[in-house]
Assembly symmetry: C2
Amino acid sequence: MSSATLEPRRWVAAFLGAASLTALAPARRDPLPSWNEGPAKKAIIEFVKATTDKTSPQFVPVPERIATFDQDGTLWVSHPMYTQVMFILERVPALVKAKPELAKVAPYSTVLEVLKGDRAAVAQLTEKDLLELLAATSTGMSVETFQAEVKKWIAEAKDPRWKRPYTELTYQPMQEVMKYFRDNGYKTYIVTGGGQDFVRVYSEQTYGIPPEQVVGSAGGTSYGYDNNGKPYLTKDPKLLLNDNNAGKPEGIHLMIGRRPYAAFGNSGGDRQMLEYTRAGSGARLAMLVLHDDANREYAYGPAQGLPDTKVGTFPQSLYDEATKDGWIVISMKKDWKRIFSFDK
Amino acid sequence: MSSATLEPRRWVAAFLGAASLTALAPARRDPLPSWNEGPAKKAIIEFVKATTDKTSPQFVPVPERIATFDQDGTLWVSHPMYTQVMFILERVPALVKAKPELAKVAPYSTVLEVLKGDRAAVAQLTEKDLLELLAATSTGMSVETFQAEVKKWIAEAKDPRWKRPYTELTYQPMQEVMKYFRDNGYKTYIVTGGGQDFVRVYSEQTYGIPPEQVVGSAGGTSYGYDNNGKPYLTKDPKLLLNDNNAGKPEGIHLMIGRRPYAAFGNSGGDRQMLEYTRAGSGARLAMLVLHDDANREYAYGPAQGLPDTKVGTFPQSLYDEATKDGWIVISMKKDWKRIFSFDK
């Protein structure tokens, strides 16, 4: 076969090499293969096209392309307990070993019961208890020590249901959304109620999001010197930013300084971030993941009659606000072809 | 002339077009044309080469390439008064117009005297006065209102000596350093004692640094709704981060979460940022601009016998620490061929 019999595109591809064939036909590949066709997938693709096509009235210049993603329940599994809460609980035995008198004092005694297998005892832990445990296990040490401990724990710890590292329990459809946004010039940020220092340890490897693009609840640090005069930062128990609810737009302003064009969440704690995003001019995308798939993951609301929960609550009022204000609710059951990268 | 008589490189360039000629010979261009040859220029170029050459033992992967720059006195003129202090003082008349009773109350009365021409009266303003004026002029309004006021002021205000907008009084040699770093895969950040919300308004246009890469002193904001239910953020008088001295490494950890490989400053307020930078492993560059050029800009220290100052003080102890610990002091007089882009 002579080159004259080839179509022009194929001829160019043959001349330049196989890589160029892909470059010439990027539109053919589905950017969201783990999504079923439907209103959610359609909304994402239409939003990206509208904001990146130079001829579109809703075009957004590259530097302004910011998309924010809640983490727990939006990017990875957060039931039956937040991963960071597991980290905190599992650090208690070492704490008790160093200070044996804590073994008989609540909330430490309660945590020891939970870790022995009495899962129901976790319900006894109040928010105040969790804050005390957070301060006891995650402050008063250098930033490097904390990072090393998180790194070690996250590499070894496993989710009890899937028997896999927590970092494998990210939602494949959301990984595709983040990559699709980045491939189209968006900077993707995590905006999480979880600890900023905690999430930053694994965000780059797990989500392709560098530490400087992780906004989370953050405590202060104190600069000081060790005995050799080498400076280091100590983690303080003082909370600077509670990155939940109104704290999310406040944290976005503090850490990014621009209003997002797209925001993704899954619970009442994301309400204000989505409102703030939608309040901007032009095309603004607000999406909420609804956990309505008890078989493949979990089902909880209490929106739409789903079981109630204390972890990542999606109240009916949030569902109603979404419907009224043009936000898109993602049904895990209907919209996601697969949940995890290891699903068939 | 036939193509056979051209050298191969020129032949390729002629074939591919002029743009490729530049691409083939980037090393020929001096990246720092406003710098005189000397130890400072040499240190910058050697650092960038050592950290970006893949065969170098000091190679730094692209995502970790972070360089931080103080603003006042490092990137632009800060004498006789910080630009943001001028902004604050010049907003007082509008404040007094709205509340006439303030005209006879210090520190407002003092500011009115200063603005009438009694420049010496500015010395009466204490740090507490300045914080009161900052709160009175820069909080209690929406983020958007503040941004619009800064944008308007910075476009109109002029420095009394050069009769030019403050944003033209950036140091051309430092603009070249920032561009050189960015061209070599570094993310450049401003880390300033100035207000984060203030600097972010003009940072992209003035320095090529986007708002999310400006770390500065920051107050809290409060999320709320207007009468139409539209959400907005109000600037609060509560200080979250005092980004000076120890606050600089603390702010870097909060906002970036990585230790810089290079840091530039000019005063005692930058000491801890430079210490923190140098405390990392591998090649770490710490540089200080010394204002020793009374003719072309200003001369102040009191390091090295230069006149003392309250604005951007460079104490002898900082000079000694720099010498002892391998930081590089940039002599404005000797190292900079020109100061401003408008210099001949």
